[in-house]
Amino acid sequence: MNGSLELARALGHVRNAVVAFVAADDPSGESLFLAGDCLDLEGLFAELGVEPELVDPGVNARASLDSASEALAAARPVVPLAMWARLQAVRARATR
């Protein structure tokens, strides 16, 4: 399995999550902060020089984050712990 490809797919899913969070009609404002957290995560990918893969958008933002998690899990040897931890934290916040 090509770790680079999985990282690229994971970044693609994270980008889709940002789009979904920003588009959400959410009077609580929580989706704005979740979008910010996803942008933090994109920054970690940028530091690794990962180019995003164009992937199909998920059903919603949470589904996109789940897909990103699956992609990173498949590329575990090349995934920095900080990136994994940040993604799981965002998933947990999005699920609450």
Binding site: G12, A23, S28, G29, F33, G43
Partner: protein
């Protein structure tokens, strides 16, 4: 609490009011030394007041409403005889300046310092705010002039000074009579905020330069930087809307300006949305800017920690209980002004990127212009690769158009929120016959008994409001027996 021009004005007006009260309550009348002390402090007071009047530049198209006041203050600022008014040429030592008046002068100077970095007032809202600021400063000068006149009494050695003070009181009367609701404006929100400050103001003070620096450098700007700026814009605007609703609910902001500000904020929010997402087929290389990232994270954290609970905004009642809503509104107005600066930097960055070649990249499969769909592009599309964005590509132009909408929407929202900076109704307290206390400020009232100074107004140039000038009236001497025409 953050020190603002508004809090300094509160202090200055309270001190001036106390000065008036003390002087009127002195049973024996004011001594010669005290009267001389007041006069000795006037050059510094005049200088400080002049600095406040000059601090906010106004577009030349608007008349200088305070020209007569400036004139008399300039004359006093250089009037050396005020320090030793008793007998010219005598050995009398210069009078010790009245400390209370010096304290007022010092604070007016601090206000001028805080306002000195403000851009020129170009809009009607800013012009009204600058006139209100002038009225607040001149009202203090008027109050001290009235007090000084009372202290001078009818002592012979103070005759020249008496005429001078009558000139000040007459020229400042009109400004000092401006109702307090007409004086409030965004300049009262201007604050001295340290970047070490851990409040929302401090977070915004760190966020602004870090974001503008990241966007302003052609080398440092990245997609991440642009998206962060847009994401922070959404959060700041949403925060401003939440606090505005709370302030309007408790009556701190009047209905009219609140009703105009809400749709403006919604419009700005909608305009920034596409800039957070970015098109999936467009990207810009680069590692995130650490300073911008940290400042953005801190800003979001401060807002979350203070204004949110259980993934929701605090309800208006809780905001009102926990915070000084007026002060919080001031912070958000400052935040929106900061966002205005960021929106300019954001638009300029995208403008540079879209118009220059080789920086933005586009998914090869998304290139629309046939002239650029050569073999290399097709090959890249087959392997789902990226190519440098060709000039004129609609995806880039759309991004730039979105940035322009965000800039325009932010400017409208900033102006609308500035208009909410109006004084809430407050109890009125009557002082001496000439002055009253209203809404935390001194207001001149009633007909004053100072002889009117007449001025000639003429327009030597052809028609046009710009060309009106006022002829000077001689100061420091008895009034002419008839008006000058």
């Amino acid at each position: 609490m953050t020190a603002t021009v508004g809090t300094l004005l509160d202090d200055v007006h309270a001190r001036a009011w106390d000065l008036c009260t003390r002087s009127s309550e002195t049973e024996e009348g004011t001594s010669h030394e005290q009267a001389a002390g007041y006069l000795a402090a006037w050059p510094r007071l005049a200088n400080a007041a002049l600095r406040v009047l000059d601090a906010v530049h106004v577009e030349p198209v608007w008349l200088d409403d305070a020209s007569a006041v400036r004139e008399v203050l300039r004359a006093i600022a250089v009037e050396k005889s005020l320090a030793s008014p008793s007998v010219a040429g005598s050995d009398v030592a210069p009078a010790a300046s009245e400390r209370a008046v010096l304290a007022i002068a010092t604070r007016l100077g601090a206000i001028a310092d805080m306002l000195s970095g403000q851009p020129a007032a170009r809009t009607e809202v800013d012009h009204a705010a600058s006139l209100g600021m002038q009225a607040n400063a001149v009202a203090v000068v008027h109050a001290v002039a009235v007090t000084t006149l009372a202290a001078l009494g009818d002592q012979h050695e103070f005759e020249s000074a008496r005429w001078l003070m009558r000139g000040v009181a007459a020229r400042t009367q009109r400004h000092a009579a401006t109702p307090t609701v007409e004086r409030a404006g965004r300049y009262e929100d201007v604050a001295a905020v340290s970047s070490e400050d851990r409040s929302l103001d401090g977070a915004i003070a760190r966020w602004l330069p870090a974001t503008v620096a990241a966007l302003g450098s052609p080398r440092r700007v990245t997609q991440n930087a642009l998206q962060f700026a847009a994401g922070d814009a959404l959060i700041l605007i949403a925060t401003a809307g939440t606090v505005l609703n709370a302030a309007a609910q408790v009556g701190l902001v009047r209905d009219d300006p609140a009703d105009r500000a809400r749709p403006a904020l919604v419009g700005a929010h909608e305009a920034w949305r596409p800039l957070v997402s970015w098109p999936g087929t467009v990207r810009l290389h680069g590692v995130r800017d650490v300073e911008q990232f940290e400042a953005s994270r801190q800003l979001r954290q401060v807002i979350t920690d203070n204004l949110r609970e259980n993934r929701e905004w605090l309800p208006p009642e809780t905001l009102s209980d926990r915070f000084d809503l007026a002060s919080l509104m001031g912070s958000l107005r400052r935040g929106m002004h900061a966002l205005g600066n960021v929106s300019v930097a954001h638009f300029q960055a995208l403008d540079r990127l879209v118009r220059s070649s080789g920086q933005l990249w586009i998914a090869a499969s998304a290139v629309t212009q046939p002239a650029y769909r050569g073999a290399a592009t097709v090959e890249a599309a087959c392997r789902k690769g990226w190519v440098p964005m060709p000039p004129g590509e609609p995806a880039g132009l759309d991004l730039l158009a979105d940035a322009k909408k965000a800039l325009a929407g932010t400017a409208v929202a900033v102006a609308a929120l500035d208009a909410t900076a109006a004084a809430a109704a407050a109890p009125t307290q009557r002082g001496s016959d000439a002055l009253k206390w209203e809404g935390g400020r001194i207001v001149a009232c009633g007909a004053d008994d100072h002889p009117r100074l007449f001025e000639t107004v003429y327009s030597p140039e052809p028609a046009g409001a710009r060309s009106e000038r006022r002829a000077p009236v001689r100061l420091g001497g008895p009034q002419q027996s008839s008006p000058r025409r």
